[in-house]
């Protein structure tokens, strides 16, 4: 299929196809085939067997405002006591993820919730991965500087050895409205950037006016 595609492009273009086009084709075909090969897990089929709690460490509260790059989240999880321990026989690891609350998903298709967990974009930020034990574990995580400003909750997926999700738990309710954490992001601007921008802008305008002035002076001299 790859060679057919390349031959087709060759016949359209009169110049030979550059190397990078062929590479792009091969890469994307490989990606396409890989994504089609994996089976998809549906979120609606997962049971909520884990109990998850998250606290903003500096304030000792479970919902509020956290600062990116500064605040820490203390996340603890364990198997819900109302389930028998045997429920967790197939669980190998627990993946903790930071997920967008619905209010931060409005008008942003790249954060959309999809029942097919391969296509789901709700929980794109990974926090930690820990080995599963029924008595649970906890972790402290500093909110990294690349976390966008939005409203979040924490979800834990219990996964098997291949990484397929088997069960979950989350800090909020089913409607995802309670217990939410707001993260205030970093701006990304630094003092150096501000200064450099000012200097380069000034150079551009000054050198232009200088040049034009010089040319008009020169032409006045020759026309005299």
């Amino acid at each position: 299929m790859c060679s057919r595609l390349i031959a087709r492009v060759d016949s359209v273009c009169t110049h030979p196809v550059p190397m990078k086009f062929s590479v792009a084709f091969v890469m994307t075909l490989m990606l396409a085939s890989v994504s089609m090969a994996q089976a998809s897990v549906l979120f609606s089929t997962l049971e909520r067997t884990l109990v998850v709690e998250a606290k903003i460490k500096e304030q000792e509260i479970s919902s509020g405002i956290a600062l990116a790059g500064v605040s820490h989240l203390v996340i603890s999880w364990h198997l819900n006591e109302s389930f028998p321990v045997s429920v967790g026989d197939k669980y190998v690891n627990v993946k903790l993820r930071l997920c967008y609350a619905p209010v931060s998903q409005i008008d942003r298709g790249w954060r959309k919730t999809n029942d097919d967990l391969h296509k789901d974009k709700t929980c794109t930020k990974g926090i930690a991965q820990q080995k599963y034990i029924f008595s649970g574990n906890s972790t402290t995580w500093r909110v990294t500087k690349d976390v966008p400003g939005a409203v979040y909750f924490v979800r834990a997926y219990a996964v098997d050895a291949e990484g397929n999700q088997l069960a979950f738990g989350q800090t909020t309710d089913k409607a995802k409205t309670a217990n939410l954490i707001t993260v205030l992001p970093i701006s990304g601007r630094t003092g150096n950037i501000d200064i450099a921008a000012a200097i380069f802008s000034a150079f551009s305008v000054v050198s232009l006016t200088g040049f034009l002035g010089l040319e008009s002076m020169r032409s006045k001299r020759t026309s005299k």
Partner: protein, 526 residues
């Protein structure tokens, strides 16, 4: 006058367009204002008769290279944000509406600046026009690293977008430096290679971003800001090069020519009047909106489209998106070449048919692209679609130089502005809200392309005809002299247009030998 007919016979022998050797036998050597000989063979207006891509000889080829590189860097700056959009939208908390507005803003500013640039080129010359614009918009690029709100983002993209008017100075410069027989290929190559900036940027910006993050160790939200210094610095450097190395016309700069009396100061009102009263201006502004406007729209949405619909990472989406713009390396020049090749046989009527066919096929392929759901086929369709859309742009500017000689600047500017209006409209209707998914938007855009290309059927030149109608008895001189009033003609202001009319007789194609023999006799008798 005898020399003129010599020139014509020489041209009819089928001179190769891309030459490898200098021919000096049997041709009067032309000189510019300062008495220097030209490196390339020139016609009676001192415009070059060939394009030698490997040469940087002043003034023709040096201008060619300065012009397309300057335009390419402006394209680069205008579309520097889209490949980094996944990072920027997280940093600034943008919504789909904000991104849509910024995309529209980036091409909307150029609507006004392209119209103004046409006038500026007519009045002070393309060299000043191009350089001043580039260096005035560079501060806007340096403001992008300072942006922290969606409104700031939209405003900065709006101001950066003004520099897309260098397209007009580029086309104006090519039409002033190259003979009408090869104006299609000169315009197409310069503009096509310039448009490649929209493709190159999709590769370069993610790369620069990556290097800054890995090697300097900056945070994501700082790294994209530092990356923006690259287009800014390039633009300032290029502006300075254009000022120091560029030249307005084959004979010299506007200021020198005005002093020597070789260039006449034209009146803005007259130039403007002849542009707005020519109906062809409006038709081509509309059709250009649906080839170039579509190209701008796709430059804005394609990386995010592949990133979101096919779940690729930033670098991969950037590589695929870049191939769209990079096709310009040969697709837009080929559009111009096809226009010239078809004109040699069928004249202007051939150029019009060529344009209509290429653009309509592009529209059909756009519809197909929106309907394609698999990654591999989507890339293939996108590449073929990009070829036709960009070739249509090249073909359009094979026709524009013939609409008017006096108002070439304003008409080029109006067409270019039309391209941007098309981009603004298309993005506004189909890619702003969540009403249409991006793939539906692409399909509907294709339908609009086909519909808005139909007006080409109504373009009629009295001396050459139209798609469905043959020419009348009018001549090229009649058409071009009609732009000058009796008073202006008695003052001898129309001589440049007459030279152009003579050179444009090639647009009759190879079908009316009797008519041209008559003309040659008349010309000899003057």
């Amino acid at each position: 006058m005898a020399a003129n007919s010599d020139f014509q016979e020489g041209n009819a022998k089928g001179e190769p367009v891309f030459q490898m050797t200098m021919e000096t036998v049997g041709e009067k050597e032309a000189t510019d204002l300062k008495g220097r000989k030209f490196a390339l063979p020139v016609d009676s207006e001192h415009k070059a008769k060939t394009v030698r891509l490997y040469s940087v000889a002043a003034p023709h080829m040096r201008t060619f290279h300065l012009s397309w590189i300057a335009f390419m860097i402006c394209f680069f700056s205008t579309f520097a944000a889209p490949p980094l959009m996944p990072v920027i939208r997280d940093n600034l908390g943008l919504t789909k509406v904000d991104i849509g507005n910024a995309g529209i803003a980036s091409v909307a500013g150029a609507v006004v600046s392209r119209l103004l640039m046409g006038t500026i080129c007519d009045l002070v010359g393309p060299r000043y026009g191009c350089a001043i614009l580039m260096m005035i918009t560079a501060p806007a690029i340096f403001c992008m690293p300072l942006v922290s709100t969606p409104v700031g983002f939209i405003l900065v993209r709006f101001f950066i977008g003004f520099c897309l008017a260098t397209f007009v100075s580029c086309q104006f410069w090519m039409s002033s430096m190259f003979n009408s027989k090869i104006v299609g290929i000169a315009n197409g190559t310069a503009a096509g290679w310039g448009n490649m900036g929209g493709g190159i940027v999709q590769l370069v910006m993610p790369l620069v971003f990556d290097i800054i993050r890995r090697d300097i160790g900056s945070e994501k939200f700082t790294a994209w800001r530092i990356a923006f210094f690259v287009p800014g610095v390039l633009q300032v450097m290029m502006g300075l090069l254009v000022l120091t190395l560029g030249q307005d016309l084959p004979d010299g700069n506007y200021a020198e020519l005005k002093r020597e009396g070789e260039k006449v100061n034209d009146s803005f009102q007259k130039v403007f009047l002849y542009a707005v009263t020519n109906y062809r201006t409006y038709i081509f502004a509309l059709t250009y909106g649906y080839c170039f406007g579509v190209e701008l729209t796709v430059d804005n949405i394609i990386a995010e489209y592949f990133y979101d619909r096919f779940d690729l990472n930033l670098q991969t989406a950037g590589i695929i998106a870049s191939t769209f713009g990079l096709m310009n390396l040969f697709s837009r020049p080929l559009g111009g070449v096809l226009s010239d090749v078809v004109a040699a046989r069928w004249g202007m009527r051939g150029r019009l048919w060529n344009l209509w066919i290429i653009q309509t096929v592009g529209g059909i392929l756009c519809i197909v692209l929106g309907l394609t759901g698999q990654l591999g086929p989507a890339i293939a369709v996108m590449l073929i679609f990009s070829f036709f859309v960009q070739a249509a742009c090249g073909a359009t500017f094979g026709v524009i130089p013939f609409i008017s000689r006096r108002s070439l600047g304003i008409i080029s500017g109006a067409t270019g502005a039309g391209g941007n209006i098309g981009a603004v409209t298309t993005q506004g209707i189909f890619f702003m809200s969540s009403k249409y998914t991006t793939e539906d938007g692409i399909m509907l855009m294709g339908i609009m392309i086909v519909a808005c290309t139909l007006p080409v059927i109504f373009v009629h030149f009295p001396q050459w005809g139209s798609m469905f109608c043959p020419p009348s008895k009018a001549t090229e001189e009649d058409y071009y002299i009609s732009e000058w009033s009796k008073e202006e003609q008695s003052n001898g202001l129309h001589h440049a247009s007459m030279k152009f009319a003579e050179n444009s007789k090639s647009e009759r194609g190879r079908q009316s030998p009797l008519r041209s023999k008559e003309e040659t006799v008349v010309v000899d008798g003057v």
